[in-house]
Amino acid sequence: MAGGTLELRRISASKSPAPGIRQMPTVTKYIDTTTCIGCKACEVACQEWNDLPAETTVQIGTYQTLPDMTANFWNLIRFAEYENGGLHWLMRKDQCMHCEDPGCLKACPAPSAIVQYMNGIVDFQQDHCIGCGYCITGCPFNIPKFHNKTKKVYKCTLCVDRVAVGLEPACIKACPTGCLQFGTKSQMVQLAHHRVEQLKNQGYSQATVYDPPGVGGTNVITVLAYGDRPDAYGLPRNPTIPLAVRLWKDVLQWLGNLSIVGGLIIAALHYLRFGPKAVKEEAQAAESGDEI
């Protein structure tokens, strides 16, 4: 909920082009799961900067703050145990991935309720949100969360309000190990590939950068030591916008609109060609004769 009109690259449910004319580099959050110590400083920083109320948690038997993100909690360090010869603890910072081709924005029926800025940040505009929840269906990462009181949907903004004034996101600022970095997409991709090389030299032959092409790449990229098993980190192997949403928006919408217009035209043509079913005059006359 910040950023100017001149920085809008894409707007939900809008056929006209977005008004953004300002040139900006794409910004990206870099997450290195191999140097994350699971301290949760980023979670606290997120809550503090965004002034979000504390969530009551439950004991789920792992080193994870909450079972899942909520409308009040947008940044979660996911914990998983992974067995691969030995036992490994996997810590992955989970939040909105800021897809280049966002499924939430594609699914959204409310004009301007979801926008993408020139710098790649995908942001929900709650004042235009109608609370239908289609973004929940459109997201391949299970990110948007519905707030039961406000009936609106919330998620990580990539601290769009901080980035707009030249600051890095709160989570990046708080990270004590440097496993979180922030910069332009090309800088971050370069850094990630450098780190992957290091890991490979240390024997992690499957190390990779998670930047899935199925959604056009993401502006949150993640270094995984066990890159052959993104599912072990709770990441989908090849995320895409769900087929149902693509069918609806790319096929059924056009088919439906054309059919409705076509149906009205056919009805009009039928009326002009054949007209009403009229009762014969003699029958009509006989009837009025009866009545008189």
Binding site: I130, P242, A244, A267, A278
Partner: protein
Amino acid sequence: MKSGRVKLPGQIERYTFSERVVHWIAGGGYVYLLLSGLAFFSSHFYWLASLLGGGLAARVWHPWVGLLFVIAVVWMHHIWRRDMRLTEADRAWSKALWHYIRNEDSNVPPAGRFNTGQKQFFWLMYFGGILLLVSGLILWFTEYVPWNWRAVRSFAVLVHVVVALLTVGGFIVHIYMGTLVVRGGWGAITQGTVSETWARAHHRLWWNEITGDATAKNDSLLLEPTDRTS
């Protein structure tokens, strides 16, 4: 109250008061669902939401009106299910559909209280309404669908869109036929009565049934294209 009573000389009751009420609950509800649903369906139609007080209000009311619509359709099923049963005679009527479309009504078999097209429209709305209710409930409470069940959400989106579009097609035909083609239809569903001639012309078997006149004469009372040109 049973329809078919003679109220005024030459006038027959086609729809009782309660039949008309339930029809208009369903009809009014459907119009609201259509306008709000089209707004959510395509951004080309989002402007329709402003007729209903904006997208947020339309989003809030759409599911409740949907419930009302389904209740009305189930009620209609309760009172009309016998009249709506598709019979052997309807198969013959369906075969003559092309003649019916071209107003060549002497080639169309006589219809009962409802003709085949009306019956098909009823069943489209009845089964369509049930599918829209089931998929609509999933969309209404979409945030409660667990992540591992997300295929259910996708399925609900597709079912809701496809079935809704089918009902729109039926709805366009229904409104066009009822207001512009079959003159007297509007009076029947608002005032409840039709003329005897109307009943004989459009629903001969029903007229035979209520008047007890079993001699089903096959002379069409409707103007044919050939009558016009001669």
